[in-house]
Amino acid sequence: MNELWNVSSSPHVRGFIGTQNLMFDVALALMPAAAFGVYRFGPYALCVLLVAVGFALLTEYTYEVCVEKENTLWDGSALVTGLLLGMNLPPLVPLWIPMLGSIFAILVVKQLFGGIGQNVVNPAMAARCFLLISFAEQMNHYSGMDGISGATPLESLKSGGTVDLAAMFTGFTTGSIGEISTLALLAGGIYLLIKKVIDWVIPVMYLVSFTLFMAVFGGQGADPYYLAAQLCGGGLMIGAWFMATDYATSPVTEKGRFLYAVFLGILTGIFRLWGASAGGVSYALITANLLVPLIEKITIPKAFGWEGQRNG
C-alpha cells in the first residue's frame, strides 16, 4: 500500500476569509478618515500616525521574540491598534505620546492578557485613557495651529457657544487626527458593513441610544441642531463604527450586542454631559468592555428548537 493520503476531521473545505483579511479591511476602512486628518492638520499628523503604528508593530514583534511566541505581526491587529490610537490623538502631541501609548496598548493591554482576542478592553482605547489621565496637558493640546481655532466643537457646545454643523460633518474643524470627519468615518463604517466585517447592531444601536439619551437629558430637548452636533462631535463616530465593534471586546451574542450598544450610548451621554474631561467615548468604551463577559453570560441564546424549554 503506497497511498499516503491526508486525514483530518471534517469539514474538508474552508472559507477564504482569514483574520488577516478582516484586520486589513478595518485598516482600509480607516484610511479615508486618516487621510483627511493628515490633509487637514499637515505632515506632522502623519508623523504621529506613523509613530503610533510603528511602535505598535515593534512592541508586538519584540514581545513575541522575547517570550518566544509565534509571530503575529501579519495578522494585522497590531496595525489596526496603532492606527486607531494615532487617530485618537490630538494633531500636536509630542511624538513620545504615540510611542508610549502604543507600547502600553500592545504590551500591557493586549499581550499581557494573552494576545489577540484575549484582551479584556480595547487596547487603543485603554491606551488613550491612560494618556488622557497621565498627560492631560499634552492630550488636550488642540490650539496653536494656523487657521484652526482653539476649542473643539464639543468644548464650545458645552460652554454655550455655537458650532458649524456642515464643517463638523465634513471635518473642517478641530479634534483628534482621525475623528474630525464624520463623512469619512461613515464611509469607512459602511464599507465594513458591506464587507460584512461588522454588523449593524452595535454602531446603529449605540448612536440611537445615545441620541435618545441626549434628547432626554441634554437640556435642549429634541433639538435637531444640538443632537446633530453631539453626534458629529468628538470621538463618537470613530468609537461607534471602529471601537465599539472591536471583536475581542464586544459580545458575540445577538442580544448581548444590543445590550452592550445601548449601555454604551447611555454611558457616553453621562460622561459627555456631566464628566469633567473630554474623552467621554473612550471612558464609556472601556467601562462597557469590562461588562462584556457578564453581558454574554446572561444572553446565551436558546439553541434552535429549545425556545420556551429548559436545557435538560
Binding site: 458575540v252 436558546k302 439553541a303
Partner: protein, 475 residues
C-alpha cells in the same frame, strides 16, 4: 419562491457541475463484496448465513436484531467466504459478511413480485420496507421501517422528501430525480398511504431547476396533480438539507436534538430512501444498490455510478479512470461532513454517497490561530449555538459547560469551521466532546427516557459543581 427558512448556514463552493450532467452508470462489482452488519443506526444485524453458504441476490444476510435495527441484504449471488471484522469508511470496525460474487446475479425467488400498493394494508407496507433492509440513505442510516411507524399515524401532517442535497460535489440525488422521478413518487405515494392526514412535500434547492421541473412533469404524468403532493423550492445554502432546518423551512416548526421529526408532525425521507421504498413495495425489490458520485480534481473521469452495496471503493476509483495524479486527500462523502480515507479499501455501505479525491488538501495548509471572537461562527451556526464558547469549554474539558451551551444539539455540519477566520478546528473538538458526553451518559445511564428524572440527575450534578469553575471558564 424559495423557502429560506433557517438562520445561519454557509455557501461553500458547490462543485456539482463536474458530474451533474453525467447520467448514472450501472457498475458491476469485480471483486468480493463486504456487507457490514452494522451500517445503520441501532443494533447490528444478526448474521443469517454461515460461511460456505450459497446466497442469491436479494437474500437476507443479516436479520434486524432488536427494536432498532435493520436487515442486511445481499446485492449479488455467490458464496459466503467469511464472516469477519472489516473496517468501514467511518473508521469503525464492524462484523461483516464477505460474499464471493459469481457474477450471475441470480435473484432470490422471493423478490421481484410487483404489487399494487393500493391493495396492501399498512402492516404489509411496513413489513415490505423492513424486509427490504431500507435505512435513511441521506447519511444517517436510521431504519426506515421504524421511521414509518411513529405510533400515531393520524398525527403526521407532512411527509417531506428531502431532495436538497446541499453537500457540495454530490449529485446522486439530483440524477435520481432526473432519471427516476416516477419511482420517487411511487415511494412518496406509498408513504402517504400510511399517513392519511399527511401532505407530501418534495423539497429541492433552487439551484436545481431541472430537477424541480422533472418532478413536476412526473407528478403530471402519474396523474397526481390533485393528490396532496407539493413541490417546494428551497433557498440554496448549506446545510439546507439538515432535517431540523428543513422541517423549519417548510413548516415553521422547530425541533431540537431531543425530539424526532414526528414530534413536529413530520416524516422526512431522503429522495433515495423514497425511491427505495417505492421499489420495495411496488416492485418487491430490496435495497441492493445506491448511487455514488465519484468526483474531484484528481479523478480522471468523474461519474455517477449505481453501485451494488458492498462494492469496494478501490474498484470505483478504477471505474472512473483512476487518479490523474496521486491525490492529497480522499473523502468518503461530501467535503463538509464526509470522512477522510486513509485507504480506499473499504466497502460502499447504504449510507455512502460519494467518493471525492482532491489533488490538493486545502486544510493541510491551514494554520490555526487564536480565536478573535469575531462571532462569525455564531452567525453561521444553523442550530443557533455559540461555537466559540463551546470550543473554550472543550479546550478546558468542561463537558458540563459544553452541555449547558447546548453542545449536544450540534449536528457537526461544519459551518462554523468553514467560516472561522482563525482556522480553528471547531467541529473536530465538538465531535470529541459530543462523543465523550454520550459515552458518559451511556455509562451512568443519565440518558433515561424520563425527562424529569434526567433533570433531577443533572440538577444534582450542577449543584455539586463548584460555582467558581463554571463561572471561571465561561469567558
Amino acid at each position: 419562491m424559495g423557502y429560506g427558512g433557517f438562520r445561519g448556514g454557509v455557501h461553500p463552493f458547490p462543485g456539482k457541475d463536474i458530474t451533474k450532467e453525467k447520467a448514472v452508470l450501472e457498475y458491476l462489482p469485480q471483486g468480493e463484496l463486504v456487507y457490514p452488519l452494522s451500517q445503520h443506526i441501532g443494533a447490528p444485524a444478526r448474521a443469517a448465513v454461515s460461511v460456505g453458504d450459497e446466497v442469491l441476490a436479494g437474500q437476507i444476510l443479516g436479520e434486524a436484531d432488536g427494536s432498532l435495527s435493520a436487515n442486511v441484504i445481499s446485492s449479488v449471488s455467490g458464496r459466503v467466504r467469511a464472516i469477519e471484522r472489516r473496517m468501514l469508511a467511518t473508521g469503525v470496525i464492524s462484523e461483516s459478511v464477505i460474499v464471493e460474487n459469481d457474477r450471475e446475479y441470480r435473484p432470490d425467488p422471493g423478490i421481484g413480485k410487483a404489487r399494487n400498493p393500493e391493495e396492501l394494508t399498512k402492516e404489509e407496507i411496513r413489513t415490505a420496507v423492513k424486509n427490504a433492509g431500507i435505512v435513511g440513505l441521506g447519511g444517517a442510516g436510521f431504519p426506515t421501517h421504524i421511521k414509518l411507524a411513529p405510533g400515531d399515524d393520524g398525527a403526521i401532517e407532512y411527509v417531506i422528501i428531502n431532495g436538497a442535497e446541499c453537500e457540495p460535489y454530490l449529485t446522486g440525488d439530483y440524477r435520481l430525480m432526473l432519471e427516476e422521478p416516477e419511482r420517487i413518487l411511487a415511494g412518496l405515494w406509498v408513504i402517504l398511504r400510511l399517513f392519511e392526514k399527511a401532505k407530501g412535500i418534495i423539497a429541492i434547492e433552487e439551484d436545481k431547476p431541472k430537477a424541480i421541473e422533472r418532478m413536476r412533469e412526473a407528478i403530471r404524468e402519474k396523474g397526481l396533480e390533485k393528490a396532496p403532493i407539493e413541490l417546494c423550492a428551497l433557498r440554496t445554502k448549506y446545510p439546507q438539507g439538515a432535517e431540523r432546518n428543513l422541517i423549519y423551512a417548510i413548516t415553521g416548526r422547530k425541533i431540537n436534538s431531543r425530539k424526532l421529526p414526528k414530534d413536529a408532525g413530520c416524516i422526512v425521507c431522503n429522495t433515495a430512501t423514497a425511491h427505495a421504498v417505492g421499489m420495495a413495495v411496488c416492485e418487491g425489490l430490496p435495497l441492493m444498490s445506491r448511487i455514488i458520485t465519484v468526483t474531484g480534481d484528481a479523478i480522471a473521469h468523474p461519474q455517477n455510478f449505481r453501485v451494488k452495496i458492498g462494492t469496494n471503493y478501490t474498484e470505483l476509483i478504477e471505474a472512473a479512470g483512476g487518479f490523474t495524479c496521486e491525490p492529497e486527500k480522499v473523502i468518503a462523502g461530501g467535503p463538509m461532513m464526509g470522512m477522510a480515507l486513509t485507504v480506499s479499501d473499504v466497502p460502499v455501505t447504504r449510507t455512502s454517497s460519494a467518493l471525492l479525491a482532491f489533488q490538493r488538501d486545502p486544510v493541510a495548509k491551514v494554520k490555526p490561530g487564536s480565536c478573535i471572537r469575531c462571532g462569525r461562527c455564531v452567525k453561521a451556526c444553523p442550530c443557533r449555538l455559540l461555537p466559540l464558547k463551546m470550543w473554550q469549554a472543550c479546550k478546558h474539558y468542561n463537558l458540563e459547560l459544553f452541555q449547558k451551551l447546548y453542545g449536544m444539539d450540534c449536528y457537526e455540519c461544519g459551518s462554523c469551521t468553514f467560516v472561522c477566520p482563525a482556522r480553528l478546528s471547531l467541529t473536530q473538538s465538538f465531535k470529541e466532546a459530543r462523543m465523550m458526553v454520550s459515552n458518559e451518559r451511556k455509562r451512568t445511564g443519565t440518558l433515561s427516557s424520563d425527562p424529569e428524572k434526567q433533570d433531577r440527575i443533572k440538577g444534582k450534578a450542577q449543584r455539586q459543581q463548584p460555582r467558581a469553575k463554571a463561572g471561571g471558564a465561561i469567558r
